[in-house]
Symmetry: C2
Subunit: 233 residues, 2 copies
């Protein structure tokens, strides 16, 4: 089998810097974690917050701290640092090679879970981090198997098209994705981004970030781990 | 213009875990840094070292610490942590959007620099980190321009084929790469890996990691930042 991941990020129209942060880190006991953080507001102030939160979570995950504890720590850190006045959403998606599971920790928007047994919306109420004492992530753990895919995003996806009264609820997005069948992660993230940009008529109302991970039956012949990145200058 | 990066990593034959670590992090003032660390020996002990070194460098770079200071700190940290008895090589390649340059910091193998003005080997003598007091990186800064490419790797590339007396010196690898013209980063890293695996007859004598970054005149229509990853399970 092969684990694959793709992430795409665009900024709000006419704002040079996205307020969202997506980072990844190797887990010392085996696997990879992805962190998607969305800071309150947009542009530079939001970026500082999402960067702070993502760095805290990534640095703990990279030291072998478990996902739930890393999420709680990121909350406590933001709460302490900004006196409970600034919020952020935080989603952590991990390939855990010890438990052979995907682990999804949510303090933010819903997450799509697609597998051989059908599609499911992870949308139990969860609080953003940074405000209320005791905030903790909603955690879901799913055994690795071919065909499994997870789609996480910042709220800009659900808000796409809101200005034109065309925003789609999470259920409609999930149905759309489920209808595409077993596309690969880059293709899936690309189609979601394309649809969101179309709903916003090419001028995103908010930062939009999309993270897709999946487990596929195929495997590269070279047996190598691969990483690729593209950044417009 | 668009910045692109690709990294590939295979482990020594019959060793499940590569002793090399490649990580990336967003620079808070703008840009991305890549860290390639190779720990002494192979397998788990090497991995613990390269992970320690990479995490220290990444965490500092993510806080806005400059490349040279992050490299020195990683050395001091390893030296303190292991009493000067364990070495690692460390290469940092950064897209710095403040100075609009690529910054290459080396405490290890040579790095290839290819641009519109020709190809160059960065191979001034540099010490591995972790052993001698005062070790510092060799730093090179190159203004961003289309056609610029940087190729960094762990010593497994130069050792490929050594068992069959077919190992190629850095100059020969550079000549090979220069002859390929302006390939994209994934293609370039893929061809290098393929050639190295062929020299080792499909059974790598050592961990091999390859990092290629480049600046291209093209730009994606969606204006998005993209990240992709593949991990064999």
């Amino acid at each position: 089998m092969q684990f694959e991941a793709a992430a795409a990020k665009v900024s709000k129209y006419a704002v040079s810097e996205s307020g969202d942060t997506i980072e990844s880190v190797e887990r010392p006991h085996g696997g990879i974690s992805f962190v998607l953080a969305d800071g309150q507001r947009s542009g530079r102030p939001a970026k500082l917050i999402s960067n702070l939160v993502a760095r805290k979570a990534i640095s703990l995950l990279g030291e072998g701290v478990r996902d739930g504890a890393a999420g709680r720590a990121a909350h406590d850190y933001l709460c302490t640092h900004r006196g409970g006045r600034v919020s952020a959403t935080l989603t952590i998606v991990s390939l855990d090679l010890v438990s052979r599971t995907l682990v999804i920790s949510r303090n933010g928007p819903p997450v799509f879970l697609l597998g051989p047994d059908g599609a499911r919306l992870l949308d139990e109420a969860s609080e953003p981090i940074g405000i209320h004492a005791g905030t903790k992530p909603m955690i879901e753990e799913v055994p690795l198997q071919a065909g499994l895919r997870v789609v996480a995003f910042s709220d800009g996806l659900l808000d796409a098209g809101v200005r034109y009264h065309q925003a789609m609820p999470a259920e409609a997005w999930l149905e759309l994705v489920a209808g595409w069948g077993e596309t690969d992660t880059e293709e899936l993230a690309g189609r979601l981004l394309e649809r969101a940009l179309a709903l916003d008529r090419g001028r995103p109302e908010d930062d939009i970030s999309i993270l897709v991970v999946g487990v596929y039956a195929r495997r590269r012949a070279d047996g190598a781990r691969w990483l690729a990145m593209k950044v417009p200058l």
